[in-house]
Symmetry: C2
Subunit: 455 residues, 2 copies
């Protein structure tokens, strides 16, 4: 009954049922997604996909976010391709949100499908309210994360990219909600999405990794559209003997448990945002170094007076990001030393601080070479202890118990905005602030498509 229970829960839920904390989480998730999608819109993976697929674009109802820079001309596509391309863009920098319990990046598949569909509805003369959009986003993300929990961790361990395998189903639930489908139709949409299991981890490191996210958005949207025309699948798609959980769960099946917690435990509240565009294990050091940068500014301490920076870190940090002398931005993502250096010197570690020329600059390299990191067995994965020694014998210390971006120390709205602007200004230049204001205004807005049009 899990398939129908998800469908019935989604159909019954109204905006007024959402706790304000859930609405806030949805707004923040959408905001972060939009920044990532705009920020990834001119990445070669995204532009290659646009180039390859534009001959197939249908009626241009829906945005390719940041389209002016993809070289696609109109910056529009049919809803299906819009979902695909925006989904790719939102994941391509590995900078999107994370449901930490399942490491699902939940908003990419769902929001990419929803925005494309909202604009397509508008092209048909309908209007999608911001609140309805947020409600659909919530049901999609809840369904997606509950399914992830139901098969965690073996589904991921064996090799499935859990973001896209569950994301297509979340996107189907969300798009069904936006289309006001019945519970039975929603169940069929779940079935059509679930039978398209997209995402092998073997693709990590290639263009196809972010393709997974876009394709899951597209598959979910397609599923809802087919179901809206009464195309049938199975209303037991998830729980049946040869259904989704049994085929891809590798023996783990906690479906009833987690479907039973729908509306009781809200997964979107546990969605976290990455403050820095690099591996999450580096984040404590960057966080501490940015705090030290501020302290040095306040105390008017000279950067060149630094003798050494000693970081005690979780052992995984050295294993995953131990690159001493990175030569470009990509290598720098795997260097705790570069992360610490830009944090200390520049007080920031956004996309601009991972540009090749920054990585190779004397200013950064000279401090980077003074940073040392050693493994501290008892430290948490999001913890670090940093000691800065100055040539005159002074010392500064910083203990980061939980890095910024963790559930304990979530990013503030202001920090999310800084992240947004850092990404989007590289694509939209001065238009980034306007885009940010638009993205924050989703809640209560009268027409989502018009809102996006002004981007």
């Amino acid at each position: 009954m899990a398939t129908l229970r998800i469908a019935e829960w989604s159909v019954a839920l109204s905006y007024s049922d959402l706790p304000s904390s859930v609405v806030d989480a949805a707004v923040r998730s959408f905001y972060n997604w939009l920044g990532c999608a705009l920020g990834g819109s001119n990445h070669p993976t995204t532009t290659t996909a646009v180039k390859a697929l534009s001959p197939f674009f249908g009626k241009e109802t829906s945005s390719l976010l940041g389209g002016q820079s993809t070289g696609s001309g109109a910056g529009k596509a049919d809803a299906s391709h819009s979902a695909l391309i925006n989904g790719i863009a939102s994941h391509v920098h590995d900078y999107d949100d994370t449901h930490l319990e399942t490491i699902i990046h939940p908003t990419g598949p769902v929001a990419s499908a929803l925005l494309a569909q909202a604009e397509a509805l508008t092209a048909q003369g309908m209007t999608v309210l911001g609140d309805d959009f947020l409600l659909a986003l919530v049901v999609g993300i809840e369904a997606e994360c509950k399914l992830g929990l139901a098969v965690w961790p073996k589904h991921y361990d064996v090799g499935w990219h859990i973001t896209s395998t569950t994301g297509a189903i979340g996107a189907a639930v969300a798009a069904s909600k936006l289309l006001s489908l019945s519970a039975e139709q929603t169940a069929h949409a779940i079935g059509i999405a679930s039978t398209q299991v997209t995402g092998l981890r073997e693709m990590f490191g290639s263009d196809t990794k972010s393709f997974h996210v876009g394709r899951s958005a597209q598959n979910g949207l397609l599923a809802a559209i087919l179901a809206s025309q009464r195309f049938t699948s199975s209303t037991s798609a998830l729980e049946a003997k040869r259904g989704w959980v049994n085929v891809v769960g590798q023996g783990i099946n906690r479906l009833d448990e987690f479907v039973g917690s729908l509306g009781k435990v809200w997964e979107i509240e546990k969605n976290a945002f990455k403050p820095f565009p690099c591996g999450i294990v580096v984040h404590p050091v960057i966080d501490g170094c940015i705090q030290l940068h501020k302290e040095m500014e306040e105390k008017e301490l000279d950067m060149q007076g630094i003798k050494s920076v000693k970081c005690r870190v979780h052992p995984l940090v050295l294993e995953l990001t131990g690159k001493k002398t990175p030569q470009d931005g990509l290598q720098a993502k795997f260097s705790v030393y570069h992360g610490g250096a830009v944090g200390l010197v520049l007080g920031k570690a956004g996309p601009a601080q991972y540009a090749d020329e920054v990585v190779r600059s004397n200013e950064i390299v000279s401090i980077r070479d003074r940073i040392d990191a050693t493994a501290g067995e008892k430290l948490g994965a999001d913890e670090t202890e940093i000691v800065v020694e100055f040539q005159d014998g002074k010392e500064l210390k910083k203990h980061v118990k939980h890095a910024i971006g963790s559930l304990e120390v979530p990013m503030t709205d202001e920090q999310l905005q800084e992240k947004f602007l850092d990404q989007v200004s590289l694509v939209l230049g001065d238009g980034a602030k306007k885009a940010s204001d638009i993205a924050w205004s989703l809640k209560g807005v009268g027409d989502v498509a018009t809102l996006v049009k002004t981007l």
Copy 2:
């Protein structure tokens, strides 16, 4: 190395390398596919998909076969949707071909992608020769069936629809061949296709079952198109630790063995064709009854003189198709009694003999009621012994050792043509014979798209 080995084998193979028996099998496979796709073009599953998805159709380069009856207007779509829709149509009557060792229906995914792509190339001013088309069809089907063998039987047992899970990869190899991609690009195309594992058996009995076949064609085509623009995946997609075989093979991995037999054992030669549009277990009885019909005509024996028809059959026949009094065409597919009756009375068991009015006609029901079937433990699954008793004491006997359509008694070209005409005349009327002539002429034809255009 399996991924690259398949790619390299495909790139190196030329038409002159194909044994004539392989070319013949490819022509017959294409011919049978085209008949099925035309025959399924006006099925509600197909027309619902067209209705739902036509808003997304891009530039109309490629045919929706039988398009005049789908209500789509032009009968065309972009190549991607053409692959999807024709793939659905070709499988929707469960009347397509079967690679018996894996029960893959191999031609649907591959030919649907290829024809769509061939027409798209023509729209760009290129020409696709019939021989090149057949060569691409062969490499696609070989890759698809070798992969099926590599994970048989557990992959199917656990719940994957093996036709579509392997079909997307076969379609990717075939489309890559038609696009003259390099071995490396072909490997990336295999990767992009393999990461989209489409088809849960739970969907059997719904519209989504044939959607699997169409979607696999579309996914394979898309993979080749992305790879042609150097979109990357993994060149170890099939064999890697978290690649296709390990994730979906359920512990079975005979990849090296079967990839090693490429070009040595030709799977397409083992492709079988269904003579009758119903479960394969009924085929021996139908075959025997059609032979008895001819014998009675020759001996001028009156049908109404029949007292009883006693069939000894494999036990599975009664288990799967034991319906005594079917009320419509769908139920009749699960009735060995109906199959025997139309064989005896009409000498045929094509789609027209499964029309509701035939199933309920007095002519058929009166004979059907005289047919008895009992299980014979020692009979093969494709074997039957039939005894017809007449009221005057006469008897006719027929022993079918291997039913028509088995590898031992393959359908002749004439029988394939009769099947084609029976299906296609229900859609194209008098145009069926012309379509048949066109379909037979693929080998050596100068331009595949023009050939199809005349359909």
